[in-house]
């Protein structure tokens, strides 16, 4: 057991615990904060995989922008702990949890059969930097990159249109 593996296992355990806490908390603000914690751990795992640029994007866009949007909406709608939303075990939820376990078993079956012989690729050391990502992005993936701007514009217009509409009196 080397140090990297030990740190990975600690981070993985923290990620799983924070994800479980996220879906079991009653207060949506607490759930959102656990999800932010989870996103930070995943950003650290990206650094383990030498993907520095994606790790920074993960923190600024996911843990920053998207989760602030979530917290903003939760506070805008003034959602507290709602008794109607209380998590109690019924048949529907039991079936849903069993289906989730079945899905995990299916994925685990394929992951178990999957044997990786090689370690991390030597090219990956310099692959995740801003320079190399930028080179690939602007050379091979320029068209999808430009299309993304249209997607973001459509999302902007759609979000404003949907959120602006007033209640019909």
């Amino acid at each position: 057991m080397n140090l990297e593996l030990i740190v990975f296992l600690i981070l993985a355990a923290a990620a799983i615990v924070s994800a479980v806490l996220m879906i079991t908390r009653k207060n949506p603000v607490t759930s959102a904060l656990y999800l932010v914690f989870n996103f930070f751990i995943i950003a650290v795992l990206y650094l383990f995989l030498r993907a520095q640029f994606i790790a920074v994007i993960q923190i600024t866009v996911y843990a920053g922008a998207i989760m602030v949007l979530f917290l903003f909406v939760i506070m805008l709608l003034n959602l507290g702990e709602d008794k109607l939303l209380k998590w109690k075990l019924n048949s529907k939820r039991t079936i849903a949890s069993l289906l989730g376990l079945l899905l995990l078993a299916e994925i685990a079956y394929y992951v178990m059969n999957f044997t990786s012989t090689s370690g991390m690729s030597p090219q990956s050391e310099s692959m995740g930097t801003v320079e190399s990502i930028g080179r690939v992005l602007y050379a091979s993936y320029l068209f999808p990159f430009e299309i993304t701007s249209i997607l973001l514009l459509a999302a902007l217009v759609g979000a404003i249109f949907l959120a602006k509409r007033k209640l019909e009196q």
């Binding site: 080397n2 799983i16 959102a32 949890s97 289906l99 990502i133 993304t148 404003i160």
Partner: protein
């Protein structure tokens, strides 16, 4: 060093937690957060495959996936706000207009 299977296993567990969250929860916003968790777990698997195969296409795909997730969360939260304005609830059991 960490074997690739560990990253894929962690990704699978996080994805399953997200699926269980979507299926069991009743608060639309927390369901939406579970979807974000599932997106993130798949991004982790993509980055792991990308790093272990030495192909940068996985990282580019994650870059686009994050851009799409940002657009998706903006529109999704606007829909939740519109829903709350009309129904005064985010409990999806009470939103059954389109239910057959």
């Amino acid at each position: 060093m960490v074997p690739l299977g560990y990253y894929i296993g962690l990704s699978a567990i996080l994805f399953t937690i997200g699926v269980v969250g979507v299926l069991t929860l009743r608060n639309a916003i927390v369901i939406f957060m579970s979807v974000e968790l599932m997106l993130n777990s798949v991004n982790l698997a993509l980055i792991a495959f990308s790093a272990y195969s030495g192909n940068p296409a996985g990282e580019i795909l994650v870059f686009f996936s994050i851009a799409v997730a940002a657009a998706e969360s903006a529109v999704g939260l606007a829909i939740i706000i519109a829903l709350f304005r009309n129904k005064l609830t985010v409990n999806i059991d009470e939103v059954n207009v389109l239910k057959w």
